[in-house]
């Protein structure tokens, strides 16, 4: 319960006009801080769901498949340059961003990840990280400005940030793969 309140409080804080203006004026903060934070708060909220609700959701989310699909689809949308622009241009899209990132990305992912099998997780990691890296590389290398609301330099920084964070995550995943040894090779 307390986690749910904390998450809603942080979302409300992020929604303050002053805060939004700060975070959205730089593309890299918009993409790599605000959006992940909103999704993260949704994940936190989901852990505070009463067990009864969680179990009825589980019936529709066998092995976490449908929840993962939902999170994958909704998060991909918010990587489209036009979607970023639209959140800045239209209040309705901004509201949609603040609602869908916690509810359709963070929450379903948190309810699904632990139930997704090893293959599902591997599939997600192996797809999402290269996708980020490619989007980042495109933003760095593209000769065109993809967002009407951001300067070219901002696009380049955001692209470099995406590229760097996807590499960092890939390294982290790699380290984990080394660390957690399968039981068969135990001493």
């Amino acid at each position: 319960m307390r986690r749910g309140l904390l998450a809603s409080g942080i979302i409300a804080l992020l929604a303050l006009p002053w805060m939004r203006q700060r975070m959205e004026s730089a593309m890299i903060v918009h993409m790599l801080v605000q959006i992940p934070l909103l999704a993260g708060m949704g994940a936190l909220m989901a852990t505070a769901l009463p067990e009864r609700w969680q179990s009825s959701l589980r019936a529709w989310n066998g092995n976490g498949v449908s929840g993962t699909l939902m999170a994958l689809g909704a998060s991909t949308w918010w990587m489209v340059p036009r979607a970023l622009d639209s959140a800045l241009a239209s209040p309705a899209m901004e509201v949609a961003k603040f609602v869908t990132l916690p509810l359709l990305v963070g929450a379903p992912l948190s309810l699904s990840w632990s139930r997704l099998g090893g293959m599902g997780r591997g599939f997600m990691i192996a797809n999402v990280l290269p996708m980020w890296a490619v989007v980042g590389w495109l933003y760095v290398a593209a000769p065109v400005r993809v967002c009407n609301f951001y300067l070219v330099e901002q696009q380049t920084t955001a692209g470099a940030g995406l590229l760097a964070s996807s590499i960092a995550l890939a390294v982290a995943v790699g380290c984990l793969a080394f660390r957690s040894r399968p039981s068969s090779s135990a001493a």
């Binding site: 989310n61 066998g62 498949v65 036009r82 009407n148």
Partner: protein, 209 residues
């Protein structure tokens, strides 16, 4: 009854994919517009847009409006005179077009007229004149204009779909394109900087007949 939970998940997944696909289709105009600029071009091509009547002053300080060009198509672009990047490409493209159209008019044809509008409130008629001479424009068939009342600039830019952001160092970033206004005075097409608007003008003229 082990198949029941599996069925529900399958149904949920299908619904998610269908809804997500439908939303993505709508949100990207059938997977054709992933950027605001592509979306603007598609929307305008599909439904030509009426333009507000905004008082302009040309490089000689003469007042006029885009509506005064009605009856013949017109190509419009947006620049600022201090620009050293994309505007120079745009103006070079207009210069090529101007030269070709001048030759055509000399042969007795109707030429396509051009208007270049600055969105920089600092640009004066003198600067516009200097800019015009840099691209060897005659100032009649290719005119250079600023908005008479700066408060009307946002509505003009909004109607065309031009977003201008100051970069804080005295320069601007803006979407650059060639805008074709049809004989009815509507914004009918938005083209790449280097595209030749005359093909579009011909198509528009044919569709009118």
């Amino acid at each position: 009854m082990r198949s029941v939970p599996w069925m529900r998940t399958a149904v949920a997944s299908l619904v998610i994919c269908a809804a997500g696909g439908a939303l993505a289709w709508r949100g990207t105009d059938g997977f054709r517009a992933f950027t605001t600029e592509q979306a603007r071009r598609l929307a305008i091509a599909r439904r030509p847009r009426a333009l507000p009547v905004v008082a302009l002053d040309d490089q000689n300080g003469q007042p006029f409006t885009l509506a005064s060009y009605r009856g013949a198509p017109l190509a419009v672009d947006f620049i600022y005179t201090q620009c050293v990047s994309v505007c120079t490409r745009l103006s070079a493209s207009f210069e090529r077009l101007d030269r070709a159209e001048r030759a055509r008019a000399a042969g007795g044809g109707n030429r396509l007229r051009l208007v270049t509008i600055t969105f920089d409130p600092r640009d004066t008629p003198e600067q516009l004149r200097a800019y015009a001479s840099r691209y060897r424009a005659d100032g009649r068939d290719w005119r250079f204009a600023r908005v008479h009342d700066a408060r009307e600039l946002p509505s003009l830019l909004g109607a065309f779909g031009i977003t201008v952001i100051p970069d804080g160092r005295g320069d601007f970033q803006h979407n650059a394109a060639v805008h074709v206004v049809d004989a009815e005075g509507r914004l009918a097409r938005v083209l790449d900087i280097d595209a030749d608007p005359r093909d579009v003008v011909r198509t528009l003229a044919e569709s009118r007949r």
